[in-house]
Amino acid sequence: MRTPRTLALAVGFVALALVPVVAAALNQPFYLDLVRRIMIFAIAAVSLDLILGFGGMVSFGHAAYLGVGAYAVAIPAFYGVHSGFVQWPLAVGLSALVALVIGTLSLRTSGVYFIMITLAFAQMLYYLGISINAWGADDGMRLARRSQFGGAVDLGNPYVFYYVVFGLLVLLLWLGHRLIHARFGMVIRAARSNEPRLRAVGFATFRYKLAAFVLAGAACGLAGALLTNQTEYLTPSYMHWTRSGDIMVMVILGGMGTLFGPVLGAIVFLLLEDVLAAWTVHWQVVLGPLLVLIVLYARRGLWGLLAGRG
């Protein structure tokens, strides 16, 4: 049972690591750009999987943190602060703070109410974004420069930027893997399985779920910081509810509660979008049935099909 999973992981990591080499050989820098974008969304999707797949918290507002992370880069940049050492910790910290507030208020509810409240908070931030004229309102604003890290790391170099994103994705997966098998992970997974039981054996479940919610928000905030650097543009549409839906689709497609599956989900989702959108603006007509098939026949998503139920 373990072998196909390990193999799939090894192939996946090596393939992602070699993309820049291949892109350079074929003289197709576009691929570099595309896969980097995919990995950024993969970070967002993995972070959502932590609460959605493992913790059973159906947050429909995860794009909010993408937006907060993006603003945390673009606003300092707008005022001339280009240091990534300022912007990135700010992105992570602010997202964590926003997740703390949203989580505190929404985790008291469950089921459909939880879905609606998380959605409502994200939309609230979206409307806030489009209403602040100083920061571009609904047009957004251009990022004059990518985050600066002294001389050490130059994100202006597409290869360097690629490996920074790749490294962060691998780091997140590694930390996530430790976390879900540690005590903390056992608690949030058990909370998804049977929360009344978990409370009966003595866990005050709220604080653990809230902590998971905050961690997920923080990681997604980092993805947001990467995303503005990727597009060199800030737009409130990063926070739009359809974006939350996209991230959720990536998780479901790849496999909820599989950690690595959402990476696969992000790859398939964004490749489909890239290929099909060239033919038709209604590319989601293809995605819809695929998603239905996955939900009906593959409980662990594409990752489950590929790697067994490990």
Partner: protein, 251 residues
Amino acid sequence: MAEPLLSVRGLRKRFGGLVATDGVDLDVAEGETLAVIGPNGAGKTTLIAQLSGDLAPDAGTIRFAGEDVTALPAPERSGRGFARSFQVTSIFREFSALDNVALAVQAHAGHSFRFWRRAREERALREPARAVLAQVGLAARADVEAGALAHGEQRQLEIAMALATRPRLLLLDEPVAGMGIDESQRMVALLRTLRGRHTIVLVEHDMDVVFALADRISVMVYGRVIATGAPEAIRGNAEVRRAYLGEEVRA
């Protein structure tokens, strides 16, 4: 006389127009096994849920070990020594039997904001869990997914999870419900070993089980405790026979 371990006064709970708990008073001494019997819908599960902290009463007080615990939520009551089993089996179905019990141990082994070390490799969690599984007779089933266990084994697992929290008070809601004769006998044998070591409130329909285990019996009807006494006294109580036991007792 020493103060009872558990002392309930004037407990009341309504669901809309229905009074499910209607002024219940109960005292359970340390080490005692109190059986609560009564017809379907009498309010036994509702009572257990209020004792465990899963359900907040509308009125009344619950004192435990000399302290008022009425306002404490379920996890905190667990911390003080309450443990319950559920009438409808409640386990972590996707986890192994051992995981289920290890989680109960974990809940009482410091905080769980630990993000690095593999919980399944923590001997401090796994070994006590294995010991409790052995105690309830599930040692050989430790690695089986809980959802795949037989019904009777799942009920045993519930008891194991309760015991793993090292409880002072066990609240057992129909532990032999839905069991075959063999399974049920094994469960009674297990519960017999717990008598006296733990204080037990046992909700049960099966009169043989009740008379085998109870030190005292309380009879609930329509949310009220209509009689409490020694098993023989309850057996002979005319009101109880009329209200509930009827032909069920072949005394």
